[in-house]
Structure formats: C-alpha cells, structure tokens
C-alpha cells in the first residue's frame, strides 16, 4: 500500500516539475510581459497543485493535508493578484490596446 502511495507521489511530483519547467521555459522564451505572465500562471496553478497533490499522499493526518492545500490556495491567491497587477502596469489601457 505504501509502495503504491510512494509511486503516486513520485508520478504527481514529476508531473508538477514538468509544468514548472514549462513555465520557466515560457518565462525565458516568450516575447513580451503578458505572454510571460501567462506561462508563469501554469507553473503556479498546475505545477504547484500537482506537487501538493503528490505530497498529500504522504501527509500524516487530515490537519497536515489541510495545511498543504491551504498553502496551495494562498500561493494561487498571491500569484493571481501579482499577475493582474503586473499586467495592469504593463498595459494600463485594458485589453483593446
């Protein structure tokens, strides 16, 4: 049973690492600020989410699992806010410009 859990953890964390890699490649290769922000949100949502999912299998108890999920939610909140603020600074006149 624990071997299966470990296998699931490794799978999920590797998938999350792949999305982090994709987000980093997007950050380095995309031409302008808005598309780079788009790439970074993939790292935040999917990458961190998959890593947290993988770690949930290793958590000891409901409280630890809830703490992991709340870490993911807080990172999502902060990431979404900062993305919007940076995008607003990069293109203040809105989507039609």
């Amino acid at each position: 049973m624990s071997a299966a859990l470990n296998g699931l953890t490794i799978l999920a964390v590797c998938a999350g690492a792949f999305f982090f890699l994709a987000g980093t490649v997007g950050l380095l290769r995309f031409p302008d600020t808005l598309s780079r922000l788009h790439a970074l949100t993939k790292a935040d949502n999917l990458g961190l989410g998959l890593v947290v999912l993988g770690l949930l299998f290793q958590a000891e108890g409901l409280l630890a699992a809830l703490k992991l999920i709340s870490v993911w939610l807080l990172a999502l909140l902060a990431g979404a806010t900062v993305t919007q603020l940076i995008a607003h600074t990069a293109r203040p006149s809105g989507p039609q410009a």
Binding site: L74, L77, A78, T81, Q84, H88
Partner: protein, 311 residues
C-alpha cells in the same frame, strides 16, 4: 548528497548573478531568490526555525525594502554613467576575495573533530523552562539577554530612521499616501489576506514553544500584514509622534527588562526565572515582545516620515 551539491551550486550561481547583474532591479530580484534558496539550505541543515526566519525576514521583508528602494533610485541609475572599474582593480579585488574564501574554507576544513556541542546541556535543562522547542529555549531562557538587547537594537535602528526626517515633517507620517480604490484588486486582496495572515502569524508565534516557529517569525508575518494594509490604502501609517505608537513599540523591551530586573529579587540574578513559573514568565515576555517587534519591523520598512503630522 547529490541534492545538496546541486543546491549549493544553485545558491552560488544565484549569488554570483546578483553581484554580476547590470540592472539594479534584476539584482534585487536575484537577491530575493537567493534568500528563498538559503531557506531551503537551512531546512537541509536541520534548522527549521532559521529557515522560517530567513524566508520571512531575510527574503521577504528585506526584498520588499530593497525593491521599493531600487524603484525610487531608478532615476539616479539612468543618470549614472556606466562606471567600469579599471582591470587592475578587478584583478586585485579578485585575488583578495579568493584569499578570503580560501581562509574561510580552511577554517571549515580544520574544524575540530569530534565537534563540540551544547545540545546535550540544552536538552537536559529544557524541562526546567517548560518549553518543547530547544531553539526557543535558547532564545528566551539560556540567552535571553541576547534577545533583550536585540529588541533594543531594533528600536535604535527605528529611532535612527525617524531622525532622518526633514525638519518640516518632523514627527510626521511615513511614506506616501496610498489611495484605496473601492473596487481595486489590491484592496480586495488586502481585505482577504490580512485576517488570514494575522491568524497565521499568531499561530506561528504560539506554536513556537513546542515546534519550529517563535516570536520573530510570527512578528514578521504580522508586520507584513500591516505593511500590506498600508500599501493597499486600507489604513494610513500612523504619525510617528503618536503616543500610543511609541508605547506599543516600547512595551516589549520594557516588560522584558522589568521581568529581568525582578529576577534579581526572586531568583537570584538578572533574567533568572523561578522554576515553577518559568513558562508563564516566558509567555508574559513573549506576547508584548511579539507585538513590539511586529510594529518595529513594519515601521522600519515604512521608512522616515514624509508628510507632516495631523495635529
């Protein structure tokens, strides 16, 4: 072990990039990343309390301070010509730095074996303090005088910053006025995050007596929440000549010093705790100290007064 080698190389790389970057803002971002990687290093060194402090204070608050400073100084940056140093100075500096690095590396390799340690003595006496976290026991019981002086040093730094105000705004309000847009994103986030952050800060302070955490880490989170509320315009920074602000800042060190002095009468020396009441006394010290440090850290980031006081 391979993970440690990779992490050490990564930290070195980010540190070297922070020194070598042309743009100051890029260097500051590199420094924030350096701080977060150092926090990972601290976890690998089995020091979770230090990792929390490094991530919150060394990377978070210092990063915020340096980002705001670098944006303010950007105008000076464009005016400064690219001042390249002559090659001879670079060579001399490189030789000197290599020598210093070699010296420190020699110290590391020549450390005595077996390593001297105070861990057994710390664990033996911990039951008397009533705490479960050895680092908190060192901070609040064995080396409490260091912590007392540290709170005073923080206050001195704050006084130093406040003394930089120009005469016409002496005793005034730090920082520019941030307007809160009623439907703005930053306002929404501040309203959502500040209550959660205050809970998390209090939790980390409270749990520090038995698990990694403690007053400095909790106070940093509380300070960050106050800074967030000020930046979003939800509250305005208080004028630095307000009596309640000054009382709040001084309360922590004052309580610490008072309990320390009563240690003479009750238990025989400065900052000695009578054994049955040790935990209670430590708690009585920690609560005002956490509030004072949170206020001090937030005001250190807010900076010197820039607007005249109201009255």
């Amino acid at each position: 072990m391979a993970f440690d080698i990779g992490l050490a190389l990564l930290v070195l790389g980010v540190g070297a990039w922070t020194v070598a970057a042309r743009d100051t803002f890029a260097a500051v971002v590199g420094f924030v990343a350096y701080g977060l990687l150092l926090a990972l290093l601290w976890v690998r060194l089995a020091a979770p309390d230090v990792a929390l402090t490094e991530a919150a204070l060394g990377s978070g608050l210092t990063g915020g301070l340096l980002v705001s400073a670098s944006t303010r100084l950007r105008r000076a940056e464009t005016r400064a010509v690219d001042e390249r140093q002559p090659a001879s100075l670079r060579l001399a500096a490189a030789v000197l730095c290599t020598l210093v690095s070699a010296g420190v590396a020699a110290i590391v390799l020549l450390l005595p074996e077996p390593a001297p340690t105070l861990a057994p003595q710390a664990m033996v006496n911990m039951a008397a303090t009533g705490l479960g976290n050895p680092v908190t026991a060192v901070l609040m019981a064995y080396r409490a005088i260091d912590t007392l002086l540290e709170t005073v040093v923080l206050l001195l730094a704050l006084v130093g910053i406040w003394s930089l105000a120009p005469d016409r705004v002496w005793g005034g309000v730090p920082g520019p006025r941030h307007q809160a847009e009623p439907d703005g994103l930053l306002t929404f986030i501040a309203q959502l995050l500040v209550p959660v952050g205050i809970l998390v800060g209090i939790h980390i302070f409270w749990v520090g007596s038995v698990a990694p955490g403690g007053e400095f880490q909790g106070a940093t989170i509380l300070a960050a929440m106050w800074i967030l509320a000020m930046m979003a315009g939800l509250v305005d920074a208080p004028a630095v000549n307000r009596r309640w602000l000054r009382l709040m800042l001084v309360a922590g060190p004052a309580v610490f010093l008072t309990i320390g002095l009563t240690g003479f009468a009750v238990a025989g020396s400065f900052l000695a705790y009578p054994e049955p009441h040790a935990k209670l006394l430590i708690l009585m010290i920690e609560i005002p100290v956490t509030l004072s440090i949170a206020a001090t850290l937030a005001l250190l980031v807010a900076g010197p007064p820039e607007r005249a006081p109201g009255r």
